[in-house]
């Protein structure tokens, strides 16, 4: 049993600044699975309720503005593209381009939030929110629809905000050089997360807006 080598435990902390890229990416993919399962629970409730109250869902969906929904879909799709482009840029060592593209992505996330703000605001002005008196007197299926609408888009909104924060952190890390041509794991994982935000919306949009 050697005694000198036990003192070398500092080597450990020196390594941990950069996690091996394959390992880190695998962790992220697994985390994304859990996110999908998290939303999966809501999709199950949606499926059950829609099969029970198909007609009410149709009626309630007429209240949603498909134009704003479609705009937000395009916004998120484009933002997914820009975040992917920024990753290619950092791999080609084009720091400023990468930062610009992420900045643009965050800007699009902002546009999404503003649209959502107007949508929610409109619903609230009509007293269409869970627990309101108007809502309580609607047919059962419509109550379920709006409950799902708020919970699903609300949880998605929370993910948009988290994604935005993550992208902001990435900008700062690119600036400080901690994300660079060799080490871009966080950048890649952030982009993966952003794609998930986009992906979930791709399912939410038709299920909520396009069933009229």
């Amino acid at each position: 049993m050697s005694t000198t080598e036990h003192n070398s435990h500092n080597a450990h902390s020196e390594h941990s600044e950069y996690i091996d890229s394959d390992t880190g990416k695998m962790g992220m993919w697994l985390f994304l699975f859990t996110e999908i399962f998290l939303f999966g629970g809501l999709f199950i409730v949606y499926a059950v309720m829609r099969s029970k109250y198909g007609e009410d869902f149709h009626q309630a969906a007429l209240e949603l503005n498909a134009f704003i929904g479609a705009t937000n879909t395009v916004v998120l799709l484009v933002s997914s593209m820009t975040v992917a482009m920024s990753l290619t840029a950092i791999q080609k060592d084009q720091k400023n381009l990468a930062i610009g593209l992420i900045f643009f992505t965050i800007l699009l996330a902002g546009v999404f939030l503003v649209n959502k703000y107007f949508e929610y605001g409109h619903k609230f002005s009509l007293n269409l929110y869970p627990g309101s008196d108007v809502m309580r007197n609607l047919p059962h299926g419509e109550i379920m629809f709006f409950g799902l609408y708020f919970l699903m888009t609300g949880l998605h909104l929370f993910h948009v905000v988290v994604g935005g924060i993550l992208l902001t952190i990435i900008i700062f890390k690119i600036k400080s050089g901690r994300i660079n041509k060799e080490h871009f794991l966080l950048h890649e994982n952030g982009a993966l997360y952003w794609h998930l935000v986009d992906l979930i919306w791709i399912f939410l949009f038709p299920l909520l807006y396009l069933i009229t």
């Binding site: 049993m1 050697s2 005694t3 000198t4 080598e5 036990h6 003192n7 070398s8 435990h9 080597a11 450990h12 941990s16 996690i19 091996d20 394959d22 390992t23 695998m26 962790g27 697994l30 985390f31 699975f33 859990t34 996110e35 399962f37 998290l38 939303f39 999966g40 629970g41 809501l42 199950i44 409730v45 059950v48 309720m49 029970k52 109250y53 869970p130 627990g131 309580r136 047919p139 059962h140 299926g141 109550i143 379920m144 409950g147 799902l148 708020f150 919970l151 949880l155």
Partner: protein
């Protein structure tokens, strides 16, 4: 420092000192011990609650507490035992302590995330406690949080739900960490089928943690939304469906049973070969049956709801699948027994616990089939029979697996030996008390004693009294076992590196292990259970 190391080599316990070095350490072994102390503390307090409930039932009528207190007690007992003790238990404690060593790695894949999961766990546990003592009433819904009661009860249900959500998140991150660790950090030469079987069981467990826990997470969030925003998914007055809640809840909570039991199976699978000095019988079937249990276990949740209103076809379907899970479990039991057959069996405390694990688990498993069959389930649903069944599985299975694990790895963890005779005595008391406590509940359950009642018909007097006596004996056994371990963790004789003549990697390094586990990452050239004796050839 060098003078000191020449006499006693530094290890993970003493290479850094001070409370902060423990609270901020991302060393998997230290995190494992933090979990260990937390979980044992919670286990003992919830065990006291269990004892109090049993004392209440020593005689018919109100004995020491009111009905409302009793309801709060079984809720707290359930929440602590399930979410804080049993689900994280073996994976977080012994998974953290032993998994990286057993696969020849220096740590888990994401050490900092590991520490973060611990604090999430700790925060969730504190929140669960807080929900009991904050303003208002302690939750009285039972650990299952069934709607509509959980959506309407005036007690602190939201806090308890948030606690369960947080604990679930910690569990997800631990599972994620273990999957990536097992995929990417096995020592060179350690192929999948050269990996010891405890890591295999942790691997299956981790997948369940990862894929099932988010579902309960969102379900608990929906109940919170139900209470705070009145969305009404589970409220029939608004068009919702309470049975839907039960589906969503059990989609997670049944697989969670396998999160509890699979690592315990993994532990005893390590113990049988070591104390028989013989390779494990049927390595590949054991490894794959873990995955089979994880997979099939995902599709049996409906058997909790045979009386809740389900179609004939779905009851038939879930009953069939429930019976199918018994097959991989039975494969394991067969393999453990065959491993001992013809080996040089050394009846040390870990093996005693492992053998009683088989005994109790088998009783729990067979009564599980009674519950899985639709006709008999309707007879015994919501009776003490169910309570006895899952205590045989969870306490007799996971609990005894945990005790087996601590008696097996104790010399490795602390570098000290416990007192063998006292460990055996503790085991004897514990085992006797356990059966006295729970076996009468099977009989009373068949006779119609409902679960979760603080009072009972005088005709159950005899069985209830035996059960209470069993609870007291069980508690004495716990104290005997734990005091033996606590005392000898500091004062015991120094343990050699390999006191049990095990052959897996953790026995090839010093006790306690050095901070970095291995001076040099080992290269694996053979399977995990190759003993240096005639059986190997």
């Amino acid at each position: 420092m060098n003078n000191q190391t020449s006499t006693a080599p530094l290890n993970y316990l003493n290479h850094q000192t001070g409370l902060w070095s423990w609270l901020s350490s991302s060393d998997h072994k230290r995190i494992g011990l933090l979990y260990f102390y937390c979980i044992v503390t919670f286990f003992l307090s919830a065990a006291v609650l269990g004892l109090l409930m049993k004392i209440e039932k020593v005689a018919p009528g109100q004995t020491i507490m009111t009905a409302q207190t009793y309801n709060a007690m079984f809720t707290l007992h359930g929440i602590i035992m399930i979410f804080i003790v049993v689900i994280p238990g073996l994976a977080a404690v012994f998974g953290n302590l032993m998994l990286p060593i057993m696969i020849g790695a220096k740590d888990v894949a994401f050490p900092k995330l590991n520490l973060f999961s611990f604090y999430l766990f700790f925060g969730g546990a504190c929140l669960a406690l807080y929900s009991q003592f904050a303003n208002g009433h302690a939750p009285d819904t039972g650990w299952t949080f069934y709607v509509p009661y959980s959506a309407e009860a005036s007690s602190n249900v939201v806090l308890a739900l948030t606690a369960a959500f947080t604990l679930g998140f910690a569990s997800i991150l631990t599972g994620l960490n273990f999957i990536v660790t097992i995929h990417t950090m096995r020592a060179p030469g350690m192929t999948w089928f050269r990996m010891p079987l405890f890591p295999w069981s942790l691997y299956a467990t981790a997948w369940i943690q990862l894929l099932a826990t988010p579902v309960v997470g969102i379900t608990l969030l929906m109940v919170i939304a139900e209470r705070t925003l009145h969305v009404g998914f589970f409220d029939p007055k608004l068009g919702g469906d309470p049975v839907l809640y039960q589906h969503l809840f059990w989609i997670y909570s049944h697989p969670a049973v396998y999160v509890m039991i699979l690592p315990a199976m993994g532990v005893v699978t390590e113990i049988f070969p070591t104390f028989s000095q013989k390779p494990v019988f049927g390595y590949v079937p054991i490894a794959l049956s873990s995955l089979a249990i994880a997979l099939v276990g995902y599709f049996v949740w409906g058997h909790h709801m045979f009386t809740s209103g389900m179609s004939y076809e779905s009851r038939w379907f879930f009953s069939l699948l429930t019976f199918l899970v018994a097959i991989p479990s039975a494969i394991k039991v067969f393999n453990w027994l065959s491993t001992m057959y013809g080996g040089s069996v050394d009846l040390q405390p870990p093996l005693l616990y492992a053998i009683s694990f088989i005994f109790l688990f088998t009783i729990g498993g067979f009564t599980g089939l009674t519950l899985g069959a639709v006709a008999t389930d309707i007879q015994v649903h919501n009776t003490d029979f169910v309570v006895a069944h899952f205590h045989y599985i969870i306490f007799g299975g996971m609990g005894f697996g945990f005790f087996a694990a601590i008696h097996y790895w104790f010399p490795k963890i602390y570098g000290r030996l416990y007192h063998i005779r006292w460990a055996n005595i503790g085991w004897g008391i514990l085992f006797t008390g356990f059966n006295l406590l729970y076996f009468p509940m099977f009989i009373m359950g068949i006779q119609g004693m409902p679960r979760r009642y603080y009072d009972y018909d005088p005709k159950f007097q005899l069985g209830q009294t035996i059960s209470t006596i069993g609870a007291v004996i069980l508690f004495i056994g716990l104290i005997t076992m734990i005091s033996n371990l606590i005392y000898h963790a500091k004062k015991g004789a120094l343990a050699p590196a390999n006191p049990w003549h095990g052959v897996t990697l953790e026995w090839q390094i010093p006790s306690p292990p050095p901070h970095e586990n291995f001076d040099e990452i080992p290269v694996i050239t053979k399977g995990p259970y190759v003993f240096d004796n005639p059986y190997t050839k």
